[in-house]
């Protein structure tokens, strides 16, 4: 057999093995992280967005189906559940901070969480989007592991929700600092809390770059909003749809 025949045979074997796509997923993320570092962690250069684009490009170029890809990628995907549960750890670690700021934290949490769901769903419905798109938008401020679960349970499109979660995260991370400066808000606890509630982990990463207090409050807001959104999304959507 000639060389190209052997290469083809090897490709046929590898392209259906979980090992290749698991490696590609992690490799794409490492490459994207290097790019983000090279840009000085500019929020526009988001490693998640870049690695998704890279992987989609590779799959399309090689004619690989999503289900063949997911056979390998599922090992990474699985860890999303435990990683979401792990949010309890920073939440518990900062319990004194919550106790000290109990009233503002709870008020901002309820107001922000409701606004995020109602506003996204409302605008989409007003513009004539079908229910499936509106449902997919509803949990987009919650962290991905929770948002995707909500979307799936309520009849949305989980993959669309995943992308919307990332989009909301990147957008919030880009606009939070200029917006807060424009509004002349100097309270970094409040600024951070808004960043984490709106833009989950991506907003929190951004908040930690700006200020330690902002980052801690952002992490709190992300965990609390994940829990609250999962508790109220079904009820709020029931009223809107």
């Amino acid at each position: 057999m000639d060389t190209s025949g052997r290469v083809f045979e090897l490709w046929v074997y590898l392209s259906t093995s979980p090992l290749l796509w698991l490696t590609v997923t992690i490799g794409a993320y490492i490459a994207a992280q290097r790019l983000a570092a090279a840009s000085g962690f500019n929020p526009i250069v988001n490693p998640v967005l870049i690695s998704v684009a890279l992987v989609v490009l590779i799959l399309t170029a090689t004619g690989t189906s999503y289900s063949a890809y997911f056979d390998g990628a599922q090992f990474v995907h699985f860890a999303l559940g435990p990683a979401t549960v792990a949010l309890a750890v920073p939440l518990y670690r900062n319990r004194t901070l919550i106790r000290q700021n109990f009233v503002p934290v709870i008020v901002a949490l309820v107001a922000g969480s409701l606004t995020a769901i109602v506003c996204a769903t409302g605008v989409a419905l007003l513009l004539g989007a079908p229910d499936s798109v509106a449902i997919s938008l509803a949990p987009k401020s919650a962290t991905a592991g929770i948002a995707v679960g909500i979307s799936q349970q309520l009849g949305g499109d989980p993959a669309l929700t995943a992308l919307l979660v990332i989009f909301t995260g990147v957008l919030g991370a880009i606009i939070v600092t200029p917006l807060m400066n424009l509004l002349r808000i100097k309270n970094y606890a409040a600024r951070g809390f808004a960043a984490g509630l709106t833009s989950h982990g991506i907003g929190t990463a951004r908040a930690f770059q700006v200020n330690e207090i902002a980052g801690t409050f952002s992490g709190l807001a992300m965990a609390l909003n994940g829990i609250l959104t999962s508790a109220i999304a079904a009820i709020v959507l029931g009223l809107l749809l």
Binding site: Q100, A144, L163
Partner: protein, 128 residues
């Protein structure tokens, strides 16, 4: 290893409760609450803050959370299956996300500041 076990048990119990009671909430969200309960109980039992139970869970939790980004990638790639839905409603989706992101940021920060001013009047030093 024990830390990972505790986290998995919290998720598993969450899954069982959600399925049994037919709740419309993702199991990991309930898992957060269960893990909070575990950490609190562990503190109560040992009578110390952040004891051995924390050390076990913290290492695993921090590793998972530090690499949270890569865990979104397989889901994000799933969008290649239904790019048509996005094409068709691209304008609507972008407007909805942009508007709600700006409004949510403003409402949240406003509510936080207002509530801290009002509760601060009671003399509770909320710092910052």
């Amino acid at each position: 290893m024990e830390g990972l076990f505790v986290i998995l048990v919290c998720q598993l119990v969450g899954e069982i409760v959600v399925r049994t009671l037919d709740l419309s909430m993702p199991a990991p969200a309930l898992g957060i609450v269960l893990l909070l309960g575990y950490l609190w109980l562990a503190d109560r039992r040992t009578g110390s803050e952040d004891g051995a139970a924390h050390t076990r869970v913290n290492g695993v939790a921090d590793t998972l959370l530090k690499n949270l980004g890569v865990l979104f990638v397989p889901l994000g790639v799933g969008v290649m299956q239904n790019y048509r839905l996005i094409y068709e409603y691209a304008g609507t989706i972008v407007i909805a996300v942009v508007v709600s992101t700006i409004v949510t940021l403003m409402v949240t920060v406003g509510a936080f500041l207002l509530a801290s001013k009002l509760s601060g009047a009671e003399g509770a030093g909320d710092g910052h």
